[in-house]
Symmetry: C2
Subunit: 135 residues, 2 copies
DNA sequence: CTCAAATGATACCACTAAGGTATCATTTGT
DNA sequence: ACAAATGATACCTTAGTGGTATCATTTGAG
């Protein structure tokens, strides 16, 4: 299982790079060179980050992306939400016709508890934290 | 996302039923009637539980399954392991050629920490706990 | 002015795992 | 003898993930 999807992972890597190399615009090609990640995928990821308000973009030759949000304000949980939707550890099973059985609801309660622990942690972690811990 | 797979969920339901209705053998048909779950799927699940040592089985007419392990010894994490393999929140991304980038390893560390919180909790919960909390 | 280099938008593709079904063989109480 | 049960196993369908391709548009540099 994976708490983080590939999108989220790549996004974090890209953002860390951009935050620690403040030299104007960074293009997909640059990131490809630096991070060795599949280029078209990364491109899509950056576009998403731009739409979500983390990056500004400049089109045309010598164009690229630029980080426009301070790393301390970029929470891991928000990035996950952008790429993976709402975080939940007990997704679909709730919606279905299951859980009519009272006896198993404690199971759901357990899962819900764990979900809260995890989301609390995710809310606390920012890009700035990740950069700090990486040094 | 789902911490528990359907197998695990069904298994828990079945085991709770069998633990709280100690009346000899329980057949797939019985469980189908009681829990309203897809019968052939449940059957496969019970066979797996049998192979894993939680149930004994009797073939033939009037046959069925019987719980052979005390609920207090049945840990949620073990059931999950049976149906879902080793529990992990940061699976595949580790194995790949990623994570060469030092800067993002703090991300992995975060995930690992959360994974430890969750597994600690899962280890602590037994079928007996779930039954107790359901009353 | 032209062209290459970049993003915007979007459609498409392949693979895998999860959830579920079907079938045939075997056993056994009635 | 037969129906009712499990054992074993193969198959199917679907959705999500990871990834590619394409066309349009913009723009700095020669």
């Amino acid at each position: 299982m994976n708490l983080l999807s590939r999108d989220t992972d790549y996004a974090v890597r890209a953002l860390i790079y951009m935050a620690t190399h403040e030299q104007g615009l960074v293009s997909t090609a640059d990131l490809d060179r630096e991070l060795k990640l599949p280029r078209p995928f990364m491109r899509k990821t950056l576009q998403t980050l731009q739409k979500a308000g983390y990056l500004s973009s400049v089109k045309g030759n010598r164009g690229g992306f630029k980080l426009v949000m301070p790393p301390a304000k970029i929470r891991l949980i928000d990035l996950m939400q952008v790429f993976q939707g709402n975080i939940s550890l007990g997704d679909c099973l709730f919606k279905k016709k299951l859980c009519t059985c009272v006896a198993t609801c404690p199971l759901r309660r357990e899962v819900k508890d764990m979900e809260e622990m995890v989301t609390a942690r995710l809310k606390a972690v920012t890009l700035a934290d990740l950069i700090r811990n990486g040094k």
